[in-house]
């Protein structure tokens, strides 16, 4: 079963619109959603969680139509960590735990307690007195303590120091994702993290999906050509996604490996290269 299916989703806000967005997150995979600020990543996540209703198109999550009344029960199976924790600032972790115990049917207080100990979150300190790292750790503890099948992370690691980020990513990917039935949709700016961890990469640009594919296939399909202008000119137009002409006569280009004749030496393209060149090409 697919964890998430968006089919021809449109949502307009006047000056910005999600346009004909279709993507599928297969069950048991880690799916990276990439895009610049304002590309529509958070909007997409809000559409997935039915916090926004699409103008047209359908959204299905864990096999259920997100606009149906049944979806409310499905939310029990979804753990969400947003870019901020958004808990009322006067609450402490003990109160948050008691509230969540009445929110989620499968809330596991023992697991929550284990995460609190592991993250060294003080029980009685108010949320407003937490550092950003502590706030995000609390949000993650909540998201993981009700036995979710799907984790949705919206810039959940942005602004965290590298040590905390590494610790948190380790929980997501080494512990949660170990279960074959568990899926993760993660939106992030930190492309190196996504390249390291994701099975699939989707790239949103100005509300449109520019590409969406298996990460390994993307890395195999594209390469970086570095050479002279003459060599670059000899390439077929279909081979070049985008080329940058340097000031000293050199050319650097993202190319489709299958279209490049044998004999050309190509470097391995990173996900960051593919995204940057694709955006430039789209402009």
């Amino acid at each position: 079963m697919n964890a998430i299916e968006l089919s021809h989703v449109n949502k307009s806000f006047g000056d910005f619109a999600i346009q004909d967005l279709s993507l599928t997150v297969p069950g048991g995979t880690i799916y990276g959603l990439v895009g610049e600020n304002g590309a529509g990543k958070s909007t997409t996540i809000r559409l997935i969680m039915n916090a926004l209703r699409p103008d047209s198109g359908t959204v299905r999550v864990l096999g259920t139509d997100a606009s149906s009344p049944e979806f409310l029960a499905v939310k029990d199976d979804i753990g969400v960590v947003l870019d901020e924790a958004y808990f009322p600032e006067v609450l402490n972790v003990d109160q948050v735990g008691r509230i969540m115990a009445k929110t989620y049917r499968r809330w596991d207080p023992a697991k929550y307690g284990t995460y609190l100990d592991r993250f060294q979150l003080p029980e009685k300190r108010q949320f407003k007195d937490f550092s950003r790292g502590m706030k995000m750790k609390l949000a993650i503890a909540v998201a993981l303590s009700h036995d979710p099948k799907l984790l949705i992370l919206d810039e959940a690691t942005a602004g965290l120091d590298p040590i905390v980020r590494d610790e948190i990513l380790n929980i997501f990917f080494s512990e949660f994702a170990r279960d074959e039935e568990h899926s993760i949709l993660i939106s992030s700016h930190i492309l190196s993290d996504l390249e390291k961890l994701c099975d699939y990469i989707a790239f949103l640009h100005q509300g449109r999906l520019l590409f969406c594919d298996e990460k390994d296939r993307l890395l195999e399909a594209y390469g970086i050509f570095t050479g002279t202008v003459e060599q670059a000119d000899s390439l077929r137009p279909e081979a070049v996604v985008y080329r940058e002409d340097g000031s000293y006569g050199g050319v650097r280009a993202l190319v489709r490996r299958v279209e490049v004749p044998a004999g050309f030496l190509l470097e391995r393209a990173t996900i960051e290269d593919i995204i940057l060149f694709t955006v430039k090409g789209a402009k």
Binding site: M49, L52, K75, A85, Y86, P88, V90, Q95, I152
Partner: protein
């Protein structure tokens, strides 16, 4: 629903402690106005809870959790109703005890019932506006609430003082009170679905 009520209680617990203290103080003073003010003030507590929600952007997180728009809205009403009920339950026995001591400041059960209706009416008018415009933009609503609280308490206490002795007048009991109960019921019945509609529209 229980989770949301617990959340609101935890969020404004500090305020509620002061509020309970105020109710006891107000109720112990033999005056119909003080008693009524305590009950009507209770109707304002959901406003405080909503202000905290808005400051922490709780709604964004709540939209990701298994709460329906109806639950999110209705919880604020239920919270307000419980606060009004709590204020009534605390203040009535104290007022009775004060009356038994021979000090009568105009207190009667009819007055209490009228003030409960007034509190329910205030909630029913103000909450849809707050759900429509949000707490920040709804500053004008705040003035409306203050006006309604003070005006409502003043009006009822005036009726209490000027009504026939002991409020035994048949007209007062058979006309004013049923009319107030009916008005509170109608306002509430209209207000809840309107708030749900406004909240859903704001979210989508």
């Amino acid at each position: 629903m229980k989770a949301l009520l617990l959340k609101d209680t935890c969020v404004i617990w500090k305020q509620m402690k002061y509020f309970l203290f105020l109710i006891v103080i107000f109720s112990a003073i033999p005056s119909a106005f003080n008693n009524i003010f305590a009950i009507v003030y209770a109707a304002m507590l959901p406003y405080t809870a909503m202000a905290y929600d808005e400051r922490s952007k709780w709604d964004q997180l709540a939209a990701m959790m298994p709460y329906s728009a109806r639950d999110l809205v209705l919880s604020k009403y239920v919270f307000g109703w419980l606060c009004i009920a709590g204020a009534t339950v605390i203040s009535v026995p104290i007022q009775c005890a004060v009356s038994l001591l021979g000090v009568n400041g105009g207190f009667s059960l009819t007055t209490v019932l009228l003030s409960v209706c007034c509190g329910l009416g205030i909630m029913s008018i103000s909450l849809p506006l707050l759900f429509r415009f949000g707490v920040e933009k709804g500053r004008l609503t705040m003035f409306l609430i203050i006006f309604l609280v003070c005006g409502g308490a003043g009006a009822i206490s005036t009726i209490a003082v000027s009504a026939p002795e002991g409020y035994s007048s048949m007209a007062f009991r058979q006309v004013v009170l049923p009319a107030a109960v009916a008005a509170a019921a109608v306002l509430t019945a209209v207000s809840v679905p309107l708030s749900v509609k406004f909240y859903s529209r704001r979210e989508s």
